[in-house]
């Protein structure tokens, strides 16, 4: 079963700036009150890379990562489900999902994954 994307972003109640991750005060107007919002719809790929020198905890040859923007303007990093970055282009539409992104202490850690929409 598809899991809900467990991300919460924070929209400033005064100026409307969207924050992800959480800040105690708005980065623009210093206001301390936020509306909690969830990512909505598909995402647009802003930038990406493939890394071959992986950190401790990743037992794989390479990792494709990117930052994408949801339809309601939340921007977030995630892993990208492609075999090669030849398939990627900045600005392309991505389908988000909430899946295991690594294993820590024997447990799956869930996070954002993106997949190009064909």
């Amino acid at each position: 079963m598809k899991k809900e994307i467990a991300i919460t972003a924070f929209k400033c109640k005064k100026c409307g700036r969207i924050h992800y991750p959480y800040h105690d005060r708005c980065l623009d107007c210093k206001n301390r009150e936020f509306e909690q919002i969830k990512p909505h719809g598909n995402a647009r790929l802003l930038t990406y890379t493939v890394i071959y020198n992986l950190p401790w905890g990743f037992d794989q040859r390479f990792l494709v990562l990117g930052v994408a923007e949801f339809e309601n303007k939340i921007k977030a990093m995630g892993q990208i489900k492609v075999d090669s970055i030849e398939h990627l282009k900045m600005g392309m539409k991505m389908l988000p999902s909430w899946e295991p992104v690594r294993v820590q202490y024997g447990e799956d850690v869930y996070g954002l994954k993106f997949e190009p929409i064909k």
């Binding site: 493939v50 990562l65 992104v101 996070g111």
Partner: protein, 396 residues
């Protein structure tokens, strides 16, 4: 506030130093700086140690206390300053403020890191602990990975090409080959890493679009300097170098929250503060050490400090403007790219290299003629905490 001068500097060769502990390296560099200052047995009031990872990499904490004990500098005040890869620059700032305020007269600042005693896997993870612990780190992002995403955006917006990056890589390796303190004393051949079929093997993608030779090495090393009031420095044997300007600024932790992620606001602000304090302009600088952990950063930093307009830094590198003998020589030491990047040491090492330039002490093939003013930029996180120093030769 008192004017503050650098009266002694020291560095040990960067690289893989299996035979030395972190404390050995800090001590060796410190003694060189103390001897260079000609202090003899004169007391040091305070010691600031720039270091990012002893707690993680060496499982050792309170290293400033250990160092003063080892150097017999007791009862000097001693603190560790941790600010990621800008730990060195921040340690120098603490020394500067302590002397400028009048609280201390003689301060030793040393930066060091021992990164090669763990596997590359562990070292990469250690550096990645700078990433945001909830929204970046879990995904496996590394600092080169951030560099790759930044490079892609910079290429798209400003037309930077792999040729531009290559120009920085070749230049810095060429200079590093002349520097006995450099980790990678080796020139690179354009054909071997770019133009031939072998290039794919010799220079593979590390964090696309960055390739292996766009990245600095993982290094061990240490560098140190001694500060005192300028008036006191004028009575000492060594030619003093004035810390004419200092600046520091921060930016959002994550790149994604920056309105324009190609804007390195903290670099611009830190450099601007340093220039304003020094009452100098970018055009007054004769030589600069800019934080080139990735080749793109030398290009971006050269624009953000004001040497070139946005989008012109890559072309400047390609046409030789930033070479030794060019309009503004950048990273004559070889930079992080060739001298290496023991993270806590880098900000101090950059200043040591500029001090040698301003004292006119380097061999002809690396000495910028009549150098009077120098700039350093030490870049923490992915540009979320940056220090900048403007240094000035004090004529005898």
């Amino acid at each position: 506030m008192r004017d503050v001068a650098i009266i002694g500097v020291g560095m040990i060769p960067f690289g893989r130093r299996d035979e030395d502990s972190l404390m050995d390296m800090l001590a060796y560099a410190s003694l060189k700086a103390l001897d260079d200052a000609g202090l003899g047995d004169k007391g040091v009031n305070a010691v600031y140690v720039g270091n990012m990872g002893a707690g993680i990499l060496q499982h050792q904490t309170s290293i400033a206390s250990s160092l003063v004990d080892r150097l017999s500098l007791l009862p000097a005040a001693a603190d560790v300053v941790e600010n990621g890869p800008a730990s060195g620059g921040s340690a120098v700032k603490n020394g500067l403020l302590a002397v400028a305020s009048g609280y201390y007269d003689i301060v030793l600042v040393v930066g060091g890191e021992k990164m090669r005693e763990v596997t590359g896997w562990r070292a990469t993870d250690f550096v990645a602990t700078m990433a945001h612990p909830q929204v970046e780190y879990p995904y496996g992002i590394t600092l080169p990975g951030m560099g790759g995403m930044f490079t892609r955006l910079y290429m798209e917006k400003y037309g930077v090409t792999r040729e531009h990056l290559l120009a920085v890589s070749l230049k810095n390796q060429e200079m590093g080959a002349l520097n006995p303190y450099a980790h990678v004393e080796m020139t690179l051949d354009r054909e071997g890493i770019f133009d031939s079929p072998h290039a794919v093997v010799n220079n593979p993608i590390a964090a696309d679009p960055l390739h292996l030779y766009d990245l600095c090495p993982v290094s061990d090393g240490a560098a140190a300097l001694v500060l005192c009031p300028l008036e006191m420095a004028k009575k000492m044997a060594k030619l003093p170098v004035l810390i004419a300007g200092f600046g520091q600024a921060t930016d959002t932790h994550t790149l994604q929250e920056r309105e324009d992620p190609t804007e390195l606001k903290a670099v611009t602000l830190a450099a601007r503060q340093a220039f304003e304090m020094a009452k100098l302009k970018p055009a007054d600088i004769d030589v600069a050490e800019l934080h080139d952990a990735f080749t793109i950063l030398e290009i971006a930093n050269s624009e953000h400090v004001g040497f070139f307009k946005k989008g012109e830094g890559g072309k400047a590198a390609l046409t030789g403007k930033t070479r030794f003998g060019g309009q503004i020589p950048i990273n004559v030491s070889g930079g992080l790219k060739a001298r290496g990047h023991p993270v806590g040491a880098t900000g101090v090492a950059q200043i040591v290299d500029i001090v040698w330039q301003l004292r006119h002490e380097l061999p002809k093939n690396r000495q910028v003629k009549n150098a009077r003013h120098g700039l350093t930029v030490n870049f923490g996180g992915f540009g979320n905490n940056v220090t900048a120093f403007v240094l000035k030769r004090v004529e005898p």
